[in-house]
Amino acid sequence: MSEFISTTIPKFTSVFIAIAVFFMVLSLLFAIAGRLDGKKTRPVSLAIFLGPALLLLLAGLVIPGVRTIVFSFMNPDSNGWVGFENYYWMSQDPNVKTIMFNTILWILVVPLFTAALGLLLAIMLDRIKHESIPKSLLFMPMAISFVGASIIFKFVYEYNEPSESQIGLLSSIVKFLGFTPTDWMLAKPLNTFLLMIIYVWTQMGFGMVILSAAIKAVPSDIVEASALDGAHGWGLFRNITFPMVKGSFIVVLATGVVGALKVFDIVRTMTGGNFGTNVLANEMYSQTFVQFDQGKGSALSVVLFLLVTPILVYNIRSLRRERAHS
């Protein structure tokens, strides 16, 4: 007990001192800003209010970003220049080709399914009895980490020799239907899609919640008016509901694309990037932290960054456009 106190109290003291110093500096700054008048007021207050945020942005984003770009032109230990060699390696290495192909596949398939399934669920569950119960259940996988979800699916995809009993859900279903199960994680290119199912399973709840909110925001007088004009079912959805929720649909899609580009945990947990399932983020991690090649790792992250950029630009643009409308 005394040991606990003797080691903990000094820690707290230093914390309190740090907080006190922080407030003193702040009040000093505000005091200075308050005394200023005339022309200098605006630039100084701008600096005081934006300064900390810009400083953090610089330390957390700009400097690491620039460093990564610089490292991508350097050797594994980042102490010598190699020019474009790391990028040349990316264009030549057959493994990187598989990685690029898989990453693009993830970008194309995953967001579409996440958004489409989310929309389908949102429509199907709209205005049914006790709507919140199935919705909560569907949203729940979102609370599971990708590693946790992958471990769950490891059991789903478990495979045993045909002579033994199948404990994996997928293998059991396939066997029940009269087919022979295979070692799922080895079956190219099916294995990549099986990994995507994990992502879609955890994320479709998110799409459903966003789109469900958008559907509820469609004014009921419009729906009623179109119903009077004879629109129902598919027609109502295609001409009224979907155009009204399109903005939210695109938000879900864009989130999905960024998420799919960054996917790492699922691949690492399920296959370790073996059997032709590797993706960009996993290879970046392996190169940097397992094989200690900071150059190749940085080059891969630069490419990842370049791939994300257009989506971010599009997102910001459409956000601005929406603001201009309203």
Partner: protein
């Protein structure tokens, strides 16, 4: 109400304090503190250790140094992770290094030394290593002429696990030559048994068991000179000698007659691979000395007449005598506080090695450990081969190669060799291409 609860809590706290005081005194009475008189004035200090060693070995380690911690009052906080190889460099780079780490790869040690965060071995550790270990062992803890890390545990990889009970039931004899072993495997196959099991799965390190198999074969096939040339890449993977060794591995571990489902080896975890040995689901598994711990988890007895035991993986011919592939961990320090030096010195002493060896499942190349101290039969068997003056010893090659190969392309390509049926020609081409240029 609240007051009452508080009083009760205080009472419990006081009681437990008294209880803990009582237990400490009774424990210290039974412990002989003489070997630890050198480590004084460190009471209440703590040392953190990060390792790839997992349970149940972690608990055994803590039992082994319990006397040390009781007598000196130094607390040792040890943390094991199966992502050790990946996490340690991240922690070191992020200035969050542990005080000590048991590094199982000399290549990783060299990489960490390059970061400038690894401390040179203190004099007391150098003295212990000079006294108890051979020069070759010291060399593995040395980077660019400077000695950093004392050997910790060691392991013997040239073992084959089998079930003495199953062998007895089937009337099989333990093979002593390679030809005997293949003949035995054929006999098993004729009975419909799986002769060899195997598993490459190991999270981020998937593929390493296959590197062991190839190492065994290169050393058995060609001896030390070629083995060491292969390690430093003066002999390439595409060299006909290495290819012929890989073909021998393919004829052994990729022989469907002996292993059943070849591709399944790639998706089976190495821990699960040998689980069926006691029941005879498969008969033999080439794995390192530590594997006894994993088989014993299911309650199997490890002894020359029990559910599982090991025999020495036979030599291929008389050309290379007693080939032994082995490995080990090295204790690297990232801090030089007195308590860290004390723990480091203690861990490199014969006192620690002997107390650990007495507890089962551990081998030390520390010559201060009497063979009679070994509780575990397998370890005694391993120590016999590791210490055999005739033996041709090779340190685990993938651990010595650059991380880009030994912890990268070799794991990846060998996994593809087993799991995707990639050809040897393509595998060696990809590995050679990944070898760092400088």
């Amino acid at each position: 109400m609240k007051r009452k609860g508080f009083l009760a809590l205080t009472g419990v706290a006081v009681l437990s304090l008294v209880a803990s005081l009582v237990t400490t005194t009774s424990a210290s009475a039974a412990v002989n503190c003489d070997p630890f008189t050198a480590y004084k004035g460190l009471k209440g200090k703590s040392v953190t250790i990060f390792t790839s060693i997992l349970e149940p070995e972690l608990t055994t380690l803590q039992t082994a140094w319990k006397d040390f911690t009781t007598c000196t009052g130094v607390k040792i906080k040890i943390e094991g992770s199966n992502q050790f190889e990946a996490l340690l460099p991240v922690r070191v780079k992020g200035n969050n290094a542990p005080d000590l780490a048991f590094i199982p790869q000399p290549g990783l040690l060299a990489k960490l030394v390059d970061t400038g965060k690894v401390k040179l071995a203190p004099k007391s550790v150098v003295a212990n290593v000079d006294k108890y270990w051979s020069k070759s062992w010291k060399a593995y803890g040395t980077v660019k002429g400077k000695f950093y890390a004392a050997p910790f545990g060691s392991n013997m990889k040239s073992l084959v696990w089998y079930s003495p009970k199953q062998f007895k039931t089937n009337g099989y004899a333990v093979p002593s030559t390679w030809a005997d072993m293949t003949a035995l495997a054929d006999k098993m196959a004729a009975k419909g048994q799986i002769a060899f099991c195997g598993g490459l799965g190991s999270g981020g390190a998937t593929g390493w068991p296959a590197t062991d198999w190839v190492e065994q074969m290169v050393l058995r096939d060609h001896g030390s000179a070629v083995y060491n040339g292969w390690v430093d890449h003066s002999i390439k993977f595409s060299d006909p000698r290495i290819i012929s060794s890989m073909e021998k591995v393919a004829a052994w571990m990729q022989n469907p007659k002996w292993v059943g489902n070849v591709k399944g080896i790639a998706t089976t975890t190495f821990q699960d691979a040998g689980k069926g040995i006691p029941e005879g689901k498969c008969m033999m598994l080439q794995q390192a000395s530590f594997y006894g711990n994993i088989i014993a988890e299911s309650g199997a007895t490890i002894s020359p007449t029990g559910d599982a035991f090991a025999f020495y993986l036979p030599a291929l011919s008389d050309k290379v005598t007693v080939p032994v592939v082995g490995g080990g961990e090295f204790t690297a320090a990232f801090a030089s506080r007195p308590e860290v030096v004390a723990v480091q010195t203690y861990l490199s002493s014969a006192t620690f090695a002997t107390s650990r060896v007495q507890l089962d499942n551990w081998i030390s190349a520390n010559s201060g450990v009497p063979l009679a101290a070994y509780k575990n039969q397998v370890d005694k068997l391993s120590a016999t081969y590791l210490a055999n003056p005739k033996s041709t010893f090779g340190f685990d090659a993938s651990d010595l190669m650059p991380a880009a190969v030994g912890a990268g392309s070799m794991w990846k390509e060998f996994t593809a060799w087993f799991g995707e049926g990639k050809s040897i020609a393509e595998v060696v081409k990809a590995i050679d291409a990944s070898w760092p240029k400088s």
